[in-house]
């Protein structure tokens, strides 16, 4: 690309000369003559993305955007430079494209916001049947993965950089060999794929090379085999929480989208509305049995602590009660085969649940944790079948039945020396494989190995070939969402660092030439009834192909299979068990390099930049440890040394630890972060492992960074809750909890704020599950910096929203512990205490009721933050954006500047704040202003005030899967927020201060079953002790 300018020949002995070098005619001068820019100007580049590359990429991305041109993935040389913009792009104006984020549970349909060719923000795709326009925390944070400067940029072979040509040669060679021997010795390992195109290539490859070994593996995955056995090959259960009156979760965290698949929280939340129950529609009731507090457990009306290994006994006990009460023969037969252990559950609890489930026949759901053994699944389906829920609330979808080899099969083949070439196109098996498979050693024996990955991880360190993977925002693809609807995955930008997609590699193996979307288009033609260009364009525009969902299947439990499954169940023993959790921050470890997620607190423990062994308070006492005490867990031949954290509400004799941490030698983001629990897992114990020996290690206490250390409300009515009965008697019970602390009359004249637009927000604590989606969405939208563990330890995290998680127990017992998450952001007080005390007028009030922050005026006295009763103001103690987090204290000696690629991830509409200024939630003022400008433009000559404001949402509201955040104009009585604020459950937090917050909360209402033990203690968070 370098331009060489022809230069007239130089005089041999010039009379005029510009430098001594010219006069002497030195080589360096002659060489430099033809160059447009000097070396210094051309190569100002530390992280491989120079200014020129950047402009080039932006141009490329712009050219690629837009439906019409999406097919033109032309060679780079022909791309239009950004200086001559494509006509549909307006610099500074966002463009939106439908796409989907593939996850192991299915695609999350998204709308990607791109700014000048850079994808900057992910939102849910509201058109998609499963999505209400919301996303989860992982989808929100996936933008950072795209721009992560630590992504590998080169294809390497035995640690040497090689070119794309070498890779093509390799793939051609593999294809040729496979063609000759029918694929013998060739194995391909992919993750839990939901892409029809990958599936098409699998079929093609297995046809071309019959002996090929196609392996699918996911570190944490639903027990698909169990569904195949119990419901029929390829039949997957689907749960309709919209219709369920009574739900029993047996160790299932179905509200966590990463765990159960996307789209359950919304259906569940719809049935949580206590107002609907006034109209004779019942509010649902949730029973949860689990070993650790999950977000689902936090929503429970009745929760029982049970060890993961006891969940089978628990399911059997409930099944037994249901069978006895209904006389259902099948269930009786099922229960009869269940092994009964020594564990016993409170019969009143079991009978209570059973009665309630029976009363809600056909309107109940019993759901077992998706990874739990087939014996537990069989019992859950058995109960559903006996109660007529199967086919009503528990339906099924017929996915394509296929038998795919597992990692165990692959390991066996590798052990037998039957694998010559292994292409690992997904996952990180060296890190995640069960220890008994001895995968790392087997892998070393395979002569040719290749790993396609987004990051350099344990697997890519040991494979012969490392190929950088393309991010889903930079590659063509497709993926099915949970219901089977095919979603389009469109590139928003050319691969930043030459990444390749799984599809491209598979296509090369299958001998199909891929040109842009051609492979995806070919697949589209195979399943779409209408393969026309118009249909394809609609597919891309909407982001999904309507009507492509899996066909419904009649769910029926295979009784014989169920009986033998139940028989296979094991009985819990007395020792400790270790339960392996999906991390709410790094999933199975795949997001370990994502600092946004590392700094996102765990749902329940509020731990950042770490995982921990979760121990029940009683066990901690018995083991003699406190938070940060070291434990050694030994199971089989492997052991794990990790620090423990006391987790209220945790089952005794049970230890939980999140996977995906404790990575070493990969990148500084992952370094010294948590403990690696994978070595404790073996093939027979993927979900939990019994018989774990635990000993306390006399090591110095480990220091955990948590964003909330104090979990007791201290008798203050902060998060308020009551019961449905209480609500029916006195709908305004929450506001009454102010008691004597009612807001006083102000002595001073106060602004009325009743003209024009007045912004306000309502947060429904009843549907808020505490899933962190809003938190990460806010970080992404508002360019909130990451500060690192040591700064969080000092109490300097910058998140504009924090989700306070309260534990409450009316009788101070673990059995009756409740959890309430409460999102707290700037309350936008009308009489804001922060504004009065700022000496520089840097925080002032707008006419629309917004508490504004003028960064330019802020000199950083921090008085505003002191005077904020909610402590939601965040101070830039250092130049978090400009200095590396490990050099914050180096002052001017620290490296300065942000990696170019990270700059690309920033929202251009939001200032990146410098050190020394205060910041806080702005109610996404950039979105408000955009909407107002849109309204003014639409109004034209007519009255702006009377013109409809374009619909918009704040970032947190948009991300919320349960729609518990409502934002809008409170001056408009018809707005959703006005209606929400008029709800009797509405109350203001700290109302007595009379600051008149614009954020109000709607109290949580629990729906206890009076027949249950401890029912009187449910919904009693505010009935505790008073300080």
């Amino acid at each position: 690309m370098k331009k060489i300018f022809p230069h007239p020949p130089r005089e041999s002995n010039p009379t005029l000369w510009r430098s001594l070098e010219e006069r002497e005619g030195s080589a360096s001068f002659t060489e430099g003559l033809g160059r447009e820019f000097s070396d210094a100007a051309a190569g100002r580049d530390q992280d491989g993305l120079s200014r020129r590359d950047f402009v080039r990429l932006m141009g490329a991305a712009t050219a690629l955007t837009g439906v019409g041109l999406t097919g033109c993935r032309r060679p780079e040389a022909h791309l239009v430079p950004f200086a001559k913009s494509a006509e549909w792009t307006v610099p500074g104006k966002f463009l939106y494209y439908a796409s989907a984020m593939p996850t192991p549970t299915g695609a999350i349909p998204v709308i990607v916001t791109t700014s000048d060719g850079r994808p900057t923000k992910i939102e849910g795709n509201p058109l998609h049947p499963l999505s209400n326009g919301s996303t989860d925390a992982f989808a929100q944070a996936s933008v950072l993965n795209l721009y992560d400067p630590q992504r590998p940029r080169e294809i390497t072979h035995d640690s040497l950089k090689v070119g794309r040509g070498d890779l093509d040669n390799l793939l051609a060679k593999i294809r040729a060999t496979a063609g000759a021997n029918g694929g013998e010795g060739l194995a391909i390992l992919v993750g839990r794929e939901h892409s029809p195109t990958v599936e098409r290539f699998r079929t093609a490859l297995t046809q071309q090379f019959p002996k090929i070994l196609w392996v699918q593996d996911e570190a944490i995955a639903p027990n698909d085999a169990a569904f195949d056995t119990l419901l029929g090959a390829g039949v997957r259960p689907a749960y309709d929480f919209n219709k369920a009156d009574v739900i029993l979760s047996i160790g299932s965290d179905f509200l966590n989208p990463a765990d159960a698949g996307f789209g359950f929280a919304n259906g569940f939340a719809k049935r949580r509305d206590p107002n609907a129950s006034m109209n004779k529609e019942s509010m649902n009731r949730l029973y949860v049995a689990e070993n650790h507090f999950s977000i689902t457990g936090g929503m429970a009306d009745h929760r029982i602590r049970a060890r993961a290994s006891e969940l089978g006994d628990f399911a059997a006990a409930v099944a037994k009660a249901v069978a006895a009460k209904t006389g259902d023969a099948n269930l009786k037969a099922l229960v009869a085969t269940a092994k009964t252990g020594t564990v016993s559950f409170d019969p009143a609890w079991i009978n209570g649940v059973a009665d309630d489930l029976i009363a809600a026949k056909g309107k109940g759901i019993v759901i077992a944790g998706s990874g739990l053994p087939v014996s537990v699944q069989a019992l859950a389906f058995g109960i559903n079948a006996a109660l007529g829920n199967l086919g009503a609330t528990v339906t099924a979808r017929q996915t394509s039945a296929k038998t795919i080899a597992s990692l165990a099969d692959l390991s066996a083949a590798m052990k037998a020396g039957a694998v010559q070439t292994l292409l690992i196109l997904g996952g990180n098996p060296v890190h995640t494989a069960p220890v008994d498979l001895d995968f790392p050693n087997l892998l070393a024996r395979v002569p040719e190995t290749l790993h396609l990955s987004l990051f350099t991880d344990e697997t890519s360190k040991v494979t012969h070939w490392q190929v950088p993977a393309a991010h889903y925002l930079e590659s063509w693809g497709d993926a099915r969402s949970l219901d089977g609807t095919v979603c389009a995955v469109q590139p928003m930008i050319l691969p930043l660092w030459n990444g390749l997609s799984t599809i491209e590699i598979l296509a090369a193996l299958a001998g199909e030439k891929v040109d842009g979307p051609s492979a995806v288009r070919a697949t589209f033609a195979s399943y779409s009834k209408d393969p026309s260009d118009a249909a394809w364009n609609t597919f891309l525009k909407n982001g999904f192909a309507a009507g492509s969902a899996f066909p419904a299947a009649t769910p029926s439990l295979n009784q014989t299979a169920a009986v033998s499954a139940v028989q296979s169940g094991s009985v819990a023993n007395d020792g400790f068990e270790a339960v392996f959790l999906r991390s709410s921050s790094v999933d199975d470890g795949r997001y370990a390099n994502n600092s946004w997620l590392q700094e996102t607190p765990d749902f329940v423990t509020k731990l950042v930049w770490d995982n921990a062994v979760l121990v029940s308070p009683a066990d901690a006492k018995a083991l003699g440890i406190e938070d940060g005490g070291w434990l050694k867990l030994t199971a089989g031949g492997s052991s794990l040394e990790a620090a423990a954290l006391i987790a209220p509400g945790h089952a005794d004799k049970s230890l939980s630890i999140a996977l995906g941490y404790g990575r070493k030698g990969l990148s500084h983001v992952m370094e010294k972060v948590g403990f690696d629990a994978y070595p404790l897992r073996d093939s027979s114990a993927l979900c939990f492992r019994s018989g774990v020996k635990v000993e306390r290690l006399p090591k110095d206490y480990y220091v955990f960074a948590r964003t909330q250390e104090h979990e007791n409300m201290e008798g203050r009515n902060i998060a308020r809750e009551g019961t449905l009965e209480q609500f029916k008697e006195e709908p305004g019970f929450a506001a009454e909890m102010d008691g004597e602390l009612t807001p006083p009359k102000s002595l001073y004249p106060t602004p009325s704020y009743d003209q024009g637009l007045q912004w306000g927000m309502s947060i429904d604590l009843n549907s808020c599950i505490g899933c962190n989606a809003c938190l990460v969405a806010c970080r992404s939208e508002n360019n909130v910096p990451v500060v690192g563990k040591s700064q969080v330890l000092k109490g300097r995290d910058m998140a504009w929203i924090r989700i306070d998680r309260w534990f409450a127990s009316a009788d101070h017992k673990e059995e009756n512990l409740e959890m309430i998450p409460m999102a707290v952001m700037c309350q936008q007080c009308e009489i804001a205490p922060c504004e009065a005390v700022c000496p520089a007028n840097a925080t002032v009030h707008s006419e629309e009721g917004l508490n504004l922050m003028a960064y330019n005026r802020c000199i950083g006295t921090r008085y505003c933050a002191n005077n904020c009763p909610w402590k939601v103001r965040r101070f830039n103690w250092f130049d978090y954006n400009e200095r590396p987090l490990d050099e914050l204290y180096f002052g001017p000696l620290a490296h300065k500047g942000m990696a170019d690629s990270l700059k690309m991830s920033k929202n251009p509409n939001v200032t990146v704040r410098m050190r020394g200024v205060m910041e806080k939630c702005t109610f996404c003022i950039q979105r408000i202003e955009e909407a107002k400008i849109g309204r003014s433009v639409a109004a034209g000559a007519s009255d702006v005030e009377k013109t409809l404001l374009p619909a918009f949402k704040t970032a947190c509201q948009q991300a919320c899967p349960s729609e518990s955040i409502v934002f809008g104009n409170i001056n408009d009585p018809k707005s959703r927020v006005s209606k929400a604020k008029a709800d009797p459950r509405t109350y203001s937090s700290l109302a007595y201060l009379n600051t008149r917050p614009r954020v109000s909360y709607m109290a949580r209402v629990r729906n206890p079953n009076p027949a249950m033990p401890g029912a009187s203690l449910v919904g009693a968070a505010n009935r505790g002790e008073h300080a």
Binding site: P833, R862, N866, F875, W877, A1027
Partner: protein, 467 residues
């Protein structure tokens, strides 16, 4: 030096009601001049060099820390959320409060004709000025963007910047700057006749020139004395008002906020009595060693005067103790869970030891001054006075930071650990204070010679006894 020529008239038998003499051993005016000037004119003692090199080093380290903090970020301190203010504002209030005793002793006691304070007033005023300098360090540098500190001043400018006059922090700016101005003027004005004495006694040209400039051409004419004394009274009056207003304004930083533990109407009084309490302790801490190091001062700084300072300290400490109890009572009596919680956590929370240290010192140590034997045992008074100031530092921290650590939402509660920069900056201000004080001892008459001479026996018109 031992000039003992005297022009005293023999006093007949002292009656029981006579006040103790301000200058012991019947010293005459010339002796007073010699005694005070000898400190400035004599050879610099070795301990002075040792002392100033230590304090200067601390001051320099403190300065380096401040520079480091300005170029790196406020994060080098231990401050955090919720303790957005910690040692910075603690030290600011500590120093600015300490300053008040100096003004109180010299101005209020001057106006109320408390002559016992004359010998300590100059040193107390110097302490005031130097303490304000130390206090002023913090508000200037603790902010996030020091280079924009001018936003705090109502300077007409083309940015449209104008300060927010409803912010107590802005009141602080005016309070502290006017306090520094007035107390410096008051201190300097008091020195003019004494500087003229030094000028007149100077043996070198440089000294003569310097003191000549400093004494502003003082001749000691009756006309000058008349102007001088009326000016001095005016300045004393102004300073006395500032003693009250400045603490009140600094107290408003807390009192006008909404934070439990800050939001209390008693704060101006609380800060005022605490201020005089810590100031008295500082005066004792400075004067007792001074008296020991310069034996000629023993007749001028008498045990009786120091005892009076100790008594003043006792009174103020008792007021402080009353406020402690009152605060706790109010928190309980309010019935407000947040108020009660704040005070409960103050003594049970993460930073409880600050409050416990504060109360255990301030409620007990000063009470020892009820005993005359304690008050008059100067080495003991010295030690106890230092302890009192330690207690007062902890009190300032308790008010400023422990209140912040436990406010409304327990989810936002936190903890505070000082960083090394916090500690070295704090010791740096101590270094600045002592460096300035050592320079003061060495170059300026540390006592008001003109006022002292005025209270010598025989220099005042005597009434009765045949006169």
């Amino acid at each position: 030096m031992s000039a003992s020529t005297s022009n005293e008239t023999v006093t007949p038998d002292l009656s029981a009601i006579a006040r103790p003499p301000q200058v012991l051993n019947n010293r005459g005016p010339l002796w007073v001049t010699d005694a005070v000037c000898s400190i400035v004119e004599g050879k610099t003692p070795l301990w002075w060099y040792a002392a100033i090199s230590i304090s200067g080093t601390f001051a320099a380290i403190g300065g380096a820390c401040i520079l480091y903090m300005i170029i790196t970020g406020v994060g080098v301190w231990g401050s955090n959320s919720p303790a957005f203010w910690a040692w910075d504002i603690t030290n600011f209030i500590f120093w600015v409060s300490m300053a008040h005793a100096g003004s109180f002793i010299s101005a209020v006691l001057f106006l109320t004709r408390q002559r016992w304070s004359l010998s300590v007033s100059r040193a107390a005023e110097a302490m005031t000025v130097f303490a304000i300098v130390c206090a002023g360090v913090y508000p200037a540098i603790h902010i996030g963007r020091v280079w924009f500190v001018w936003f705090l001043f109502p300077v007409p400018n083309n940015y449209g910047m104008w300060p927010n006059f409803s912010s107590p922090l802005l009141w602080d700016v005016f309070a502290v700057t006017s306090y520094l101005t007035v107390s410096s003027l008051f201190w300097f004005a008091g020195m003019i006749p004494d500087l003229a004495v030094l000028r007149d006694r100077a043996t070198t040209k440089i000294r003569k020139f310097c003191y000549g400039v400093a004494s502003l051409g003082w001749l000691g004419t009756a006309r000058q004395w008349r102007h001088y004394e009326s000016m001095y009274v005016v300045l004393a009056g102004l300073t006395s008002v500032l003693v009250v207003t400045v603490t009140t304004i600094v107290a408003s930083d807390c009192a006008t906020s909404v934070i439990p533990g800050w939001h209390a109407t008693i704060f101006p009084f609380y800060f005022m009595v605490g201020a005089v309490y810590s100031g008295c302790a500082t005066v004792l801490t400075l004067l007792i060693p001074l008296r020991a190091l310069y034996p000629q001062l023993k007749d001028l700084i008498t045990p009786a005067q120091l005892e009076k300072v100790a008594m003043l300290l006792l009174m103020m400490a008792s007021c402080v103790g009353y406020v402690y109890v009152y605060e706790l009572f109010c928190a309980w009596y309010s019935g407000n869970a947040f108020e009660r919680g704040a005070f409960w956590e103050r003594f049970h929370g993460t930073a409880a030891w600050y409050a416990i240290t504060c109360l255990s010192i301030n409620l007990t140590i000063p009470q020892l001054f009820w005993f005359k034997r304690v008050r008059t045992c100067l080495p003991l008074v010295f030690v106890l006075a230092i302890l009192c100031n330690v207690g007062m530092w902890f009190e300032r921290f308790m008010i400023v930071t422990t209140s912040l650590l436990h406010d409304f939402l327990p989810s936002a509660w936190g903890n505070f650990h000082p960083s090394i920069v916090d500690i070295l900056t704090a010791t740096g201000t101590l270094g600045i204070f002592f460096t300035l004080f050592l320079l003061f001892i060495r170059f300026v008459p540390i006592m008001s010679m003109n006022e002292l001479k005025a209270v010598l026996p025989g220099t005042q018109p005597q009434h009765g006894e045949g006169h």
